[in-house]
Symmetry: C2
Subunit: 330 residues, 2 copies
Amino acid sequence: MSIRKGRSVTISDVAEAAGVSRAAVSKVLRNAYGVSPGMRARVESTIEQLGYRPSVAARALRGSSYRLGLEIPYTGARFMTQIVEGAKRAVAGTPYQIILAPADGPEYDTLESLADGLVDGIIAISPLVDQAWLEGLARRVPVVMLGRHDTPAGYDTVTGDDHAGTRAVMEHLLSLGHRRIAHLTEPENVTTPGSGTPHSVRLEVYRACMTEAGLAEHIRVARRDVSGGDAVGAAAALLDLPEPPTAIFAGHDDMAVDALAAVGRTVAVAGYDNTDLAAHPLIDLTSVDQQGMEMGAQAATMLLERLKGRGEPRRFVAATRLLVRGSTSR
Amino acid sequence: MSIRKGRSVTISDVAEAAGVSRAAVSKVLRNAYGVSPGMRARVESTIEQLGYRPSVAARALRGSSYRLGLEIPYTGARFMTQIVEGAKRAVAGTPYQIILAPADGPEYDTLESLADGLVDGIIAISPLVDQAWLEGLARRVPVVMLGRHDTPAGYDTVTGDDHAGTRAVMEHLLSLGHRRIAHLTEPENVTTPGSGTPHSVRLEVYRACMTEAGLAEHIRVARRDVSGGDAVGAAAALLDLPEPPTAIFAGHDDMAVDALAAVGRTVAVAGYDNTDLAAHPLIDLTSVDQQGMEMGAQAATMLLERLKGRGEPRRFVAATRLLVRGSTSR
DNA sequence: GCATGTTTGTAGATCGGTCTTCAACGGGTG
DNA sequence: CACCCGTTGAAGACCGATCTACAAACATGC
C-alpha cells in the first residue's frame, strides 16, 4: 500500500528496490519478450509491495494511455446510457478504459481536446462537425463515429437503420388511421437535408411516408427549443394549430416524453431509441429500439480493432424493431 | 490548419518556425513572465498558422493536465446529470475541463486509475470506499467527495442536508395521515449504519421519525436488487405484505419512479433529488430538492481552490426543499 | 576448443512539454 | 564612464515511462 506523502512511486523506485534496471521493470509491465521467470517474480512482488502504478501521462507520451474517449453531446440524454454501457462492456477484460467527455459548446473543441494525447482513440457522437475535418482528426488518432450516415475513408461509423426504423413508426401510425401526423425534431442545424444526421434522415423519411400516403398537406414539423432544451413548448404549440395533429412522431424518446408532458394522452405519441423510461407503465411509450447497447459495444470493438492496426473503414448498421405500447394504442 | 499525416505539430516545430527557442514558446503558452510583445505576437501567429495544440500527456508529466476527473457510479442515474452540469458550469471560463470516469466494478479501481496522472484533481461519489484510503489518495491528488458525511482531514466534502430533507418528507407523509410508511432504499452495503452515506442517514432518520411518531411497529425497509439494478420488484413485494404500506418513501427518484411502476397510483410515493422527471405530469412525483447543480458547482469550485493551494478541508452542505406533487396528494 | 547463436538484462535516446539557471542586452545612475 | 540592474531570451535538466541497441552470459554445433 504505502502511499507516500508527496510524489508517488515511479518505475525507478521499483527498479532500485528490485535491484534491476528501469527497462527491466518496463518489460515486466508490458509483458515484453526477454524476461526470466525469476526476474519477473522479483519485480512483480516489488511492484506489489510498493503499490506502484504506472503514470498514464508518461505512458501516453511515448506509447499509449489505454484510455478511450467517448464524447457525449449532453449528459442528460437517456440514449447515452445505452451507448456507454455497451462500450464499457466491450472493453471489459482489455487493458483499456472508457472516459467520457461531455461536450459543452462546439463539438470541435471537445474532440480536439480529446485528441490532444489524452486518449488512444475516440468514439464520438458529433453529427455537426464537418466530414473533411473529421478525416483530418482521424489521421492523428483512431476515430469511430456514432450516428453518421456518411462514407468516410479514415474512420468507422456505427448507426441505426434510421430508414427502416422511421418507416416502421410511420406505417404503424398510418395503420391506426392517423392522417394528421406531426414530427417533433431537433433544431434546424441538426436536420439539414443531406447532412446525414440521424434526425435529418428521420425527418426526410417522415416526409416521404406522408407524401406516399397522400398526406403531404398534413406534414407538420415542430422543433425543440435551441436554448431551453426541452420540447414541451414545441409540442404544446402543435395543439394550438387550426387542425391539430392526432399523432406525434418524436425524433427521440426524450422529446417524446416532453411531448407527453404537453399533450398528455389526448394525442398518440411515438418515440425513438426505446430508452428504459419508455417501458414504464406511466409513460408507456411506443418507440423504435435501435439497440443502443449493441451500438456502443460495436463502436468500442471497432476502435480496438483500429488500435490493432486495421486501416480500412468499417460500418455497422444496427437493426431496428418497433415496440408498440400504450402511447399509440389507446 | 495543416493537420499532417502522422505525428502532430509539437512545440519544437513552432519554435523552429518562429525562430525562437522551445522555452520561449512555452512561456507564451503559459502566459509566463519575460515575453516581449513582439515575440508574443510572432509566436502566437505561428501557433495559429501551424494549428499547434499542446500535448496533454506531456503537460501532465511535468505540470498539469488541466483536466478534472469526475467519477460517477452509474451513468444512468438521473441525479448525475445535475452534478455534471453544475461542475461544467463551475469550470467554464477556466482552463480546466471535466472528464467523466464511469465506475464499472469496485470504485477503488476507477479512482486509482484517475489518480494515475491523468487528471489534476478528482471529484468522486464513492460512499463505499474507506476513509483512510481516501486520505491516502488525497495526499497524492486533490480530492472532493460528494455525499460523504464524514470529517476528513485531507479532502473536501459536498453533501445535501439529508437530515432535514428526510424529515421534511416524513413530516409531509405523516401530516397526510399515513401511518404505514415504508422506505425503499439501496442494498445493505450502501446503508450500513454509521457509515455516513446519504442513504444510511436517510434510513436512520426514517426510522427515527417513525419511532417518534409512535409507528415503530410499522417500519418496513425494502431494498433495490443488487444485481438487477431496479427497484420495481422490491416495491411490488411491499404490496404483498399482510398490511401493505399506504406510502413509500424512496431513497432517490430513480427508485421512486420504479416504485410508481410497481404500485401505480394506489400508494403515495415520495422520492429524493428532484430529478427533471419528477416534474413530468405523468410522473408528478413529490421529491426533495437538494440542488444537485449547486452541489456539482461547489465541488468543482472547491477543487479549483485546492489546486490553487488551499490545504484546510472545507465542507459544503446544500439546503433542501420539499416539492409536493401529485404522487402524494391525491 | 572455438565459432556461432540465443537468452537475458542494461544503457541511453526519446516522447513533448515545464521550469530553473544563466548570458546578453540596454538603460539609468553617480 | 564604470557600474548596477531589470528585461528578454536561450540552454538544458527534468518528468516517467517506452523502446532500440547492444553487451554479457550461456548453450549449442562441429
